[in-house]
């Protein structure tokens, strides 16, 4: 069995997901970063984007993360985000409506948020 790392995906007001994983791919401000068990201690700033977690039972968890941090030490990885949603929680139709509205209103932040959600939902 492959080595495992413990992942905790934490939003400001709740713990979104936690469990064992073999690989976590997240987007930091300087590019995508993949963390596997035994990685050296890391603290990075996350960009808004989907985070992919390859769980140890072979499944994949995708979450939309809107800004935040990734920290890794002692085989424990924490993903901290102000807002984080699992891809299963995302209602694609609603997000598409949001995206259209954001585009119409020229709300760049809302447009980016909706885009991140859509990408996370597509990656599932």
């Amino acid at each position: 069995m492959a080595a495992e790392l413990h992942v905790a995906l934490v939003a400001a007001d709740r713990e979104v997901w936690s469990g064992e994983a073999t690989l976590v791919v997240a987007r930091t401000t300087s590019g995508d970063i993949g963390v596997m068990p035994g990685h050296q201690p890391l603290l990075g700033v996350l960009e808004s984007g989907p985070v992919t977690i390859r769980t140890s039972d072979g499944g994949t968890v995708v979450a939309a993360v809107h800004g935040g941090f990734v920290s890794f030490a002692d085989n424990k990885l924490s993903l901290l985000a102000e807002i984080a949603e699992l891809s299963d929680e995302i209602d694609v139709q609603r997000v598409e409506r949001e995206l259209e509205r954001a585009k119409a209103e020229g709300d760049a932040a809302a447009e980016r948020r909706a885009d991140v959600r859509l990408r996370a939902a597509a990656a599932r």
Partner: protein, 305 residues
């Protein structure tokens, strides 16, 4: 029914109605305390992880940041006071306001100017009534604060602290809120949020002298700290908002419980008085009848002669 008795009956009815209301408010507050406590608990993992990360950056690099360095001479401080929108919570708001006033006085004695920021209608009303200057205020979310509310509150504060003192920026940020110790105990306290003393945070994060690993920073320690500190402040404010909300509900519950108890006592006293009045009325009626009967008997006895 006698006039006296009617007055008592009416008062009993009105106190009973009040008691029903306070009882309902007590139960609502009790259920909200539990909900608020759950929210405090749910926000803890994020706060703990964030504190760890801040400590890691602080310990792992010698970065200087405006949010962690103490200004040589502090000329202006900001005080953020958390109160509630609604009253009926015993001494909850007045305790928080008192704590803020003591802090303001202390800071002013040290020769600092104080900018006051207020959350909650009660605190705002207190300051407006006394025509004191309030730098900024927020109302409408104190019962159930969300993270977005905390961000809204934190944004101008962070902006003020990053500005130069000469341009109206502040050097220190204090927060006054009510700590939720338990259902029975809530305590108004003040805390210096910024500049952050990394040693204290480190003590909080690793009380057992646990050694933090040497982190690799992505993209750099400065950038991480830049992004981290505002989030840390937001999360602290969020936590304070949640604790204040929980404390407010607990205080409301207690105040309403004593109101209900008092109403109960009042009803008991009033029913005793009403009973006494009824008895007095009956006694009086009997003595009137007896008196009337004997007068009648005397009169007939007189006419017989």
């Amino acid at each position: 029914m006698g006039a006296q008795l009617r007055v008592y009956k009416r008062r009993i009815r009105s106190v009973t109605a009040t008691k029903k209301i306070t009882k309902a408010m007590e139960m609502i507050a009790a259920s909200r305390v539990v909900k608020a406590q759950r929210k405090v608990a749910a926000s803890t993992p994020y706060a703990t992880e964030l504190t760890r990360a801040v400590t890691a950056v602080g310990a792992g690099s010698n970065t200087k940041h405006p949010l962690t360095t103490q200004a040589e001479t502090v000329t202006r401080s900001a005080v953020l006071l958390l109160t509630s929108d609604r009253g009926l919570a015993g001494a909850f708001n007045s305790n928080a306001i008192k704590a803020a006033e003591q802090l303001t006085e202390r800071l002013e004695r040290e020769g600092k100017q104080v900018d006051t920021y207020i959350v909650g209608r009660r605190g705002l009303a207190h300051y407006n009534f006394r025509e004191r200057k309030v730098a900024e205020s927020w109302t409408g979310f104190t019962d159930e604060p969300t993270y977005a509310d905390a961000k809204k509150v934190a944004a101008p504060l962070i902006e003020a602290i990053e500005k130069d003192t000469a341009d109206g920026g502040v050097d220190e940020l204090h927060i006054v809120f009510t700590e939720f110790v338990s259902m029975m105990t809530q305590q108004a306290l003040d805390d210096r949020l910024l500049p952050l003393s990394l040693e204290e945070v480190a003590k909080e994060a690793a009380p057992k002298g646990e050694i933090l690993p040497l982190y690799d920073f992505e993209p750099s320690a400065e950038d991480v700290l830049d992004a981290l500190l505002p989030r840390y402040v937001e999360s602290r404010i969020y936590n304070a908002l949640l604790q204040s909300a929980a404390s407010k509900h607990a205080a409301t519950r207690r105040a309403m419980k004593s109101a209900t108890d008092n109403a109960g006592e009042l009803i008991e006293t009033l029913s005793r008085l009403a009973n006494a009045a009824r008895q007095a009325e009956i006694t009086q009626e009997i003595s009137e009848i007896v008196g009337g009967a004997s007068a009648l008997a005397d009169a007939t006895a007189g006419s017989d002669n």
